[in-house]
C-alpha cells in the first residue's frame, strides 16, 4: 500500500483544500493590529450568507461543543425549563450540557435513525408552557438524519415563545440554512465539517430576539463563553480573547472558494452526493439507517444485516487508505458512516463506493461488482447532466 495516502471520508473532520492549507501557513499577525480587524471584516459577509442571517456570526476558538455550551449558558439560567430533542448522540450532548448547568431538562427522544416530529414537539410544549428554550440538532451526525428544522420552528412558533437553538455543526455550509427566515434564535457550527477547515473554530449566530434575552442573562457562571463579549467585539471587528489566527486565514480562503462555487451549487453538490450514495447502497442491497425523507446530504449511515461493519472498515483502511466512521453508543459495530461533505465531490463518492464494493467482495459479501457504482453514476447523470 502506498504510504502517506488517505481517503478521509468520515463525517468530519474533513479534508482541507490545498489553497486553504496554504493560507494557514501565512505568518501570524498581531491579533490586536489593524490586519486582524481587516481580516475579520472581510470574513463577515460570506459567513452571514452561509447562516442565512443578517445578524453577526461570532467566532470562538474552540470545538463545536464549545459553541453548543455557549448557546446553553448564555440563553438560560439554572432551574429554567428547557426541552432537548434527542435524535442521536449530538442531541444527547445538548442534554448533557443542559444538565451540567442544572437546568430542568425535558428530553424528547427519538429512535436513532429517525427524525424529530414537529407536531409531537408542539404538543409537548403546549403541555409544558414554562419551557424557555428548545434545543435541537439539524444534521444528527451520529445517525445521518437531517431534522426538519424549518418545520420544527414553525410548529414551535404556533404555541410557544421558547428560544429555538440549533446545532448546525454538520449541516451549515453544506445544507440550506435560512436562520432569519426560519426564525432560528441561535445556530451553531464548527470549522471541521462543510466549511473545509481543520477543527478549532466554533461559530455562533444569534437572532435579535435571542440577544435581548442574552443581554439580560446574569445567572450562569461563564467567562470564556460569554457571547456578549464576542458580540461587543465583533461589532468593532475584533474578538474578546486571542483568535485562532491561522484558522481565520484558512476560513477566509475557504469562504472565498465557497463564494466562487456559489452556495446554491454547494447545496446541490451535497444533495447529488447524498442521492448517489443512497442509490448505490440500495442497488447493493445493503440497508440504510435512515429513510429517504430524513436523510442528510452530508453523511450517510449504512446498517448492514449480515456482516460486521468494523470488519469492512478495517479492510478499506488497510487496502485503500479509505477511512469511514463507525457507529456511536448503541450503534457501535452496527453501522458505518460515510461523510460526503465539504471538500468532497461526486468523483469521490464514486471512488468510495467502488472501494466499498471491493471491501465487501473481500469479506465475502458481494458477488457482482460495479452495481453500486452504476447506480451512483446513473444518479449523477440524472441530476447533473439531466440525462437518461
Amino acid at each position: 500500500m502506498l504510504k502517506d495516502y488517505q481517503l478521509l471520508r468520515i463525517p468530519g473532520p474533513t479534508p482541507i483544500p490545498p489553497s486553504v492549507q496554504l493560507a494557514m501557513t501565512k505568518p501570524i499577525i498581531g491579533h490586536r493590529d489593524q490586519e486582524t480587524k481587516d481580516l475579520l471584516k472581510r470574513i463577515k459577509p460570506s459567513l452571514k450568507k452561509i447562516f442565512g442571517t443578517k445578524e453577526e456570526v461570532v467566532i470562538l476558538a474552540g470545538s463545536g461543543t464549545a459553541g453548543m455550551e455557549a448557546a446553553v449558558v448564555n440563553t438560560v439560567s439554572p432551574g429554567d425549563e428547557v426541552l432537548v430533542v434527542v435524535t442521536g448522540s449530538f442531541g444527547d450532548r445538548f442534554a448533557k450540557i443542559c444538565e451540567a448547568y442544572n437546568l430542568h431538562v425535558h428530553k424528547l427522544e427519538y429512535d436513532w435513525g429517525k427524525a424529530l416530529n414537529p407536531e409531537e414537539i408542539k404538543t409537548y410544549l403546549t403541555k409544558h408552557p414554562m419551557i424557555k428554550a428548545v434545543f435541537a440538532t439539524h444534521c444528527e451526525t451520529s445517525t445521518s438524519v437531517l431534522n426538519p428544522i424549518h418545520k420544527l420552528s414553525a410548529s414551535i412558533k404556533e404555541v410557544s415563545d421558547a428560544l429555538i437553538i440549533v446545532d448546525g455543526v454538520s449541516s451549515v455550509g453544506g445544507v440550506e440554512m435560512k436562520m432569519d427566515e426560519w426564525q432560528i434564535d441561535v445556530c451553531i457550527t464548527g470549522s471541521q465539517k462543510a466549511l473545509m477547515l481543520p477543527p478549532g473554530l466554533a461559530f455562533v449566530a444569534t437572532s435579535q430576539r435571542a440577544w435581548t434575552i442574552i443581554e439580560k442573562n446574569n445567572q450562569s457562571s461563564h467567562f470564556y463563553l460569554d457571547l456578549r463579549k464576542y458580540q461587543n467585539n465583533i461589532q468593532q471587528d475584533s474578538t474578546p480573547f486571542t483568535p485562532a489566527l491561522s484558522l481565520l486565514f484558512g476560513l477566509e480562503q475557504s469562504l472565498q472558494l465557497m463564494e466562487e462555487e456559489g452556495l446554491h451549487n454547494i447545496i446541490k453538490r451535497h444533495k447529488t452526493m447524498k442521492n448517489m450514495t443512497r442509490n448505490a447502497f440500495k442497488a447493493l442491497g445493503i440497508p440504510l439507517l435512515t429513510n429517504d425523507k430524513d436523510a442528510s446530504p452530508t453523511v450517510t449511515a449504512v446498517k448492514p444485516t449480515d456482516f460486521d461493519p468494523d470488519r469492512l472498515r478495517k479492510i478499506l483502511k488497510e487496502k485503500f487508505g479509505l477511512v469511514l466512521a463507525g457507529g456511536q453508543n448503541h450503534l457501535k459495530r452496527k453501522i458505518f458512516r460515510f461523510g460526503h461533505m465539504g471538500y468532497c465531490t461526486p468523483a469521490d463518492v464514486l471512488q468510495t463506493i467502488s472501494c466499498i464494493e471491493l471491501g465487501l467482495a473481500n469479506i465475502g459479501k458481494l458477488y457482482s461488482l460495479g452495481i453500486g457504482v452504476n447506480a451512483a453514476q446513473v444518479t449523477y447523470l440524472q441530476e447533473e447532466f439531466h440525462e437518461i
Copy 2:
C-alpha cells in the same frame, strides 16, 4: 463544481504526497554546509536501489531533458556515429539533442504505439560497426509503450560495444530497472514522475564502463552538464553547482515513503493499475494504442475511433476536475493518456474510470455505465486479493 479541486492524472508531473510537500517547506540550509552533505549522503542508498545500481547516481537541478542532454554530451563527440531508437516523441527528443551536437545520427523509427525490436537493432548495429552509443527510451510517455530494455541490452552486447543509454524518465521508480544486471551504461530519470516530486531534478546513473569513456571525453562544449564535475562532487557528498535544496528535502521524504512501501510492492502496484486500466477500456470497447505485451505500467494511451478525445478531456476537467493528457505530434486529438504512476493507487484508477464513463455518457458514447469499473474491480480482486 467545487473549487481548488483537481484529479491530476497526466503522465507527469504527478501529485505530491502531503509529507513530501511539507518536507519541501523546511528552511533552506547552507548548500556548502555539513547539513547538505548529510542530506546527500542519506539520499544515496535508496536512490541506487531504485536504479538497480551500485554506482553513484548524480542529481542535477534541471528537467529530465537536462539529464538526457548530459547523457549525450558526456559520452560522445561531434562526428561520432550514434543510433537513436525512436518509438515516440521522447525518442525523437534524444535524436534532436544528438543532432544539436553535430553527431552522425542513425535513426531507427517505430510506429508510435509499437515497441522497439531488439533483433532489428542488433542487425542494424552489425551493419554499422562504428556506432558508439545507442539511445533508447524505456517508457515512451507519448505512446505508453514500455520498451524491452533488458532484451535490447542483451541483443546489443552480442554484436557491439556501443554504450547503452536509456531515458528512464517515466519508468524509474514505478517499473523494474536493474541497471547493473542489464548492463545499461547511462540511465536518466526526472523528479516529476514515479518519484512523486515536483519537476526540477534530473538524475543520471552511469556504469563503470561509461565512466572510463566520459573521463576521456574532451570534445564537446559543455559546462553545467559536465557529469565529471557531478561525479567528483557526489563522492564527497556534494554538488558542483547550487543544488535545488527544497526538492532534495522532498526527495529524501519520497524515498523514505518508497522504502516503507518497498520497491517490490511499488512495482506490483503500478502493474495492477496498468491491468485495471487496460481491462476497463477493453470492457468499454475503446481501443488501446498499445498491445498488452508492450504496455507501460505507468501510463495508458487510449485511441478512440468514434469520438474526439479532446472533447472527452474537456468535459472531464469541467465536471470532475479530472486532468488527462492528450496526444503529441501526429497523435494530437487522436489519443488521450491516463498517467497512473507515483502517488496514485488502484482506488484512483477506479475513480478515473468511473468519471471517464460519465464523460463518455455525456458525449453520447456509452450507454451502459459501470462496465469499465467492474472490469477494473475484478482485475484488482484477482491481483490483490487473489480471488474470483
